[in-house]
């Protein structure tokens, strides 16, 4: 074993990452409780709205900010949750690392895409593909 054994309040300190990942997952899940309620309320009010009304909803900084926050927190939580699920069922080291890497990549791409779309909507940018083709 490398490194010296440390203690904090009489409890041995983890020499690896300890419970950090678990705590982060729980904090993200706790944050998703009020955000999830906000999603339910927003989904209710936006159902049946046309393009103009929905686009106008996103120009509110509060709505756009909460939407970005919700998706970042949710995809962060999902990445950790899928990591745990993959670790529970896949035991071959190479396959496990590959699947976890793939899941992280997918959730990172989804986060980036959602931030990109919401920022464009919040700024009232021209519809995509703006400047491409016609």
């Amino acid at each position: 074993m490398s490194g010296t054994v440390q203690h904090k309040n009489g409890v041995r300190v983890s020499q690896r990452h300890g419970a950090g990942e678990w705590k982060l997952e729980k904090m993200l899940l706790a944050a998703l409780m009020p955000l999830g309620l906000w999603v339910a309320v927003s989904a209710f009010s936006l159902t049946g709205a046309d393009y103009a009304e929905t686009a106008a909803w996103f120009t509110s900084k509060l709505n756009a900010g909460l939407a970005i926050l919700t998706l970042i927190v949710f995809f962060g939580f999902s990445a950790l949750a899928w990591k745990v699920i993959i670790e529970d069922y896949i035991h071959k080291p190479g396959t496990k690392a590959l699947l976890i890497g793939l899941a992280n990549l997918v959730f990172l791409a989804l986060t980036a895409a959602s931030v990109f779309f919401i920022v464009r909507l919040a700024l009232g940018s021209a519809p995509l593909p703006a400047g491409i083709g016609a």
Partner: protein, 155 residues
């Protein structure tokens, strides 16, 4: 030959719980805890459903990103999506995602409560699990009754 310690058969009288198996030497022993011989319990269902919910919620969130993409692509693209969402299949998908959202909230709350070490007595754990397992369906039905009543959805 049968004695109280060495049965050759298991019946209601010798095994009232129905959880014993006969070993090759004829002795009754509890079944090993394997997935196929676990007795169903609501806490187990709640735990399994939370994993299912996270998987479904991931798919749902990816669909939300798709909606954002359509919205950012302008009125024509969004009108096409709205047309699909107003169809019976679209409403069914929306109802399913509503169940998933409420399942995530209720089951997530159950998980957070249990993670702090609270609600782990059999009675409390059963109650929290029952709320997490069954609660999402009536909540989603109420949500859709509200949507239909306010004229936001019609078929």
């Amino acid at each position: 030959m049968t004695s109280s310690n060495n049965h050759t058969t298991l019946d209601k009288a010798t095994d009232p719980t129905g959880r014993l198996v006969l070993q090759p030497n004829g002795r009754p022993r509890p079944m090993s805890p394997h997935l196929q011989v676990w007795r169903w319990h609501v806490t187990m269902t709640a735990s399994i459903l939370f994993r299912v919910t996270i998987g479904a919620a991931s798919v749902g969130a990816a669909m939300i990103v798709g909606v954002l993409a359509a919205l950012a692509s302008g009125p024509e693209a969004y009108a096409g999506l709205l047309g699909f969402m107003a169809s019976p299949l679209g409403v069914l998908i929306a109802f399913g995602l509503t169940v998933v959202l409420f399942s995530f909230l209720l089951n997530g709350a159950r998980h957070l409560i249990n993670d702090t070490g609270q609600g782990l007595t059999p009675k409390a754990a059963d109650m929290l699990s029952n709320i997490a397992v069954w609660g999402p369906v009536p909540l989603a039905i109420l949500f859709f009754i509200g949507l239909f009543a306010t004229g936001r959805v019609s078929l």
